[in-house]
């Protein structure tokens, strides 16, 4: 059973990650020029922030950190919570505009 779980996780990791390798979209963790111009980035970020962060912990106030500190904190949470790059950019945009 555990071997099945491991193989499933590894397969999903390889398939999802491998498929993403061929995606031409930006890999940046920070809002790109496209994100800056997209008026929905902020709204998507607010939605992801409210739905994802509370899965593990109480919601933190965006005013707790400066813009540059949020860069590192959100990158850390990307690793922890399994955020996609786009979700990370959206959430960072939301936090930086709400602090």
């Amino acid at each position: 059973m555990s071997k099945l779980a491991v193989k499933t996780a590894l397969l999903a990791t390889i398939v999802a990650g491998g498929a993403a390798m061929f995606e031409p979209e930006a890999q940046a963790a920070e809002p790109t020029a496209t994100d800056e111009a997209d008026p929905m980035t902020f709204a998507r970020g607010a939605k992801t922030w409210s739905e994802t962060c509370a899965r593990c912990h109480n919601m933190r106030d965006p005013k707790e950190l400066r813009d540059d500190q949020w860069r590192a904190a959100v990158a850390h949470m990307r690793v922890r919570a399994g955020l996609t790059g786009q979700e990370t950019r959206d959430v960072l945009k939301f936090l930086q505009e709400s602090n």
Partner: protein, 422 residues
């Protein structure tokens, strides 16, 4: 006649050059007097001007004008530098950030001595551009004798390969299950203690050293998948009195069995606030320490981990449940031939109340089963939390413990904790 004509012309010219005058009737003496008066007035005005200039110089007005011009230039340059400084910190390629958590705690067992304790877990984030993050956490704790223990909880370099995949290298928190990797920090854990079996040396692996690939992907609509797969050194076994005393899963920088562990977790979110996780790992493990003595050459044996976890939030309600199991196979030629299974599961419900949702009630049930009877424990935990801020909590809780009679696992406890995540 010519002489008289020239004289007449000279008189006429002189009269014309004399300028405006009251008339031909004004005498030369009058004009001279008038000119003298004008000259005197001009001299007086000049003298006043000179005096005013002298006073201005004396008061520094003239000198200050030059200094003021210089200061304006300096202020302009300073403002330009300040303007650059105001924005450049946002645009640096490297970012450092100090995070972490700390707590102070008082624990009083029903038949023992109550005591205060404290711990501090600083976390360091070093980010280069948006491609690389080095993150480390130290666990600094006080033991029963007052000695300070420092443990490298984790230290990894995370390389963001693309939007859906991150390469993690170093010592990482075990991605198996949910509690150990995401919920154990004191400001996140809704009860002061970890569920039995989910702490150190229990059923849940704590950390490992190796390589990990992890990330997330959006599926159709709001559905989401997160995944993690890793290869690592794996655990080591500690023998005592001819049996396996415990599984060391803190992440060891050696691999006695020379066989790497493969493991991973996959979670599926059919709706945003419902997460279903499945974890597993397998490989070999060997006894490397027996009765406090190093051991070399003990045979390898199969080792595997299996886990399930579920999380669901609805408004102020937070529900969690998790099962985790570590199994070690028998090895007839080992100093500790008999294997064993360490397994634990818990369910937890927490609900926030109050106008600002800053009061929280928590109920948790855990059942931990170990090959050693003195470790097995069944526990009900009841708690009330006050959220000073979302990341600063005061927790008061009571554990109803049911273990082997006379052991600490059987003693009920009061726990009071102040926790802060920053």
């Amino acid at each position: 006649m010519k002489k008289n004509s020239r004289l007449g012309l000279a008189v006429v010219a002189t009269m014309a050059l004399a300028g405006p005058s009251p008339g031909w009737a004004q005498s030369d003496a009058d004009r001279i007097a008038e000119l003298e008066a004008k000259t005197a007035a001009m001299a007086e005005a000049l003298e006043a001007l000179q005096e005013e200039l002298a006073q201005a110089r004396e008061s520094g007005t003239v000198r200050d004008t030059e200094e003021l011009r210089s200061e304006v230039i300096k202020a302009t340059q300073y403002a330009q530098r300040a303007q650059r400084a105001a924005t450049e910190w946002k645009d640096t390629t490297s970012v450092t950030h100090l995070a972490g958590y700390a707590s102070a705690e008082y624990v009083e067992p029903e038949d023992g001595n109550g005591a205060f304790t404290s711990n501090f877990n600083p976390m360091f984030h070093y980010m280069y551009s948006d491609r690389l993050l080095w993150e480390s956490e130290l666990a600094i704790e006080l033991d029963e004798n007052g000695e300070t223990e420092v443990v490298l909880e984790y230290s990894t370099i995370d390389i963001f390969l693309n939007d859906n995949l991150i390469l993690v290298a170093g010592k990482f928190l075990s991605p198996l299950g949910n509690f150990r990797q995401n919920l154990h920090p004191s400001w996140i854990n809704k009860f002061s203690s970890a569920p039995p079996g989910f702490g150190h040396d229990g059923a849940a692996p704590a950390a490992d050293i190796g390589l990990q690939l992890r990330g997330g992907a959006n599926l159709f609509g709001n559905r989401k998948l997160t995944y993690a797969g890793y290869i690592a050194n794996g655990p080591m076994l500690v023998g005592e009195d001819g049996e396996i005393h415990g599984i060391e899963t803190e992440g060891v920088a050696s691999d006695a069995d020379d066989s790497k562990i493969l493991g991973g977790r996959i979670s599926f979110l059919p709706i945003p606030r419902l997460e279903l996780g499945l974890s597993g790992a397998f490989g070999d493990a060997a006894v490397v320490e027996n009765d406090d003595a190093d051991l070399d050459g003990d045979p390898d044996r199969d080792y595997e981990v299996l886990g399930f976890d579920v999380t669901y939030q609805w408004q102020n309600l937070d529900l969690r449940g998790e099962y985790i199991m570590q199994d070690v196979a028998d090895a007839s030629t080992s100093v500790a031939p008999e294997g064993g299974k360490w397994e634990s599961w818990y369910v937890q419900s927490a609900y926030k109340i109050g106008a600002s949702a800053n009061w929280e009630g928590v109920v948790r049930y855990t059942d931990f089963s170990s090959p050693h009877a003195d470790e097995s424990q069944e526990q009900w935990a009841l708690g009330v939390n006050y959220l000073v801020t979302p990341n600063a909590l005061i927790k008061v809780g009571y554990e109803l413990n049911d273990g082997l009679g006379g052991e600490v696992t059987d003693a009920d406890r009061w726990l009071i904790q102040v926790a802060y995540g920053y």
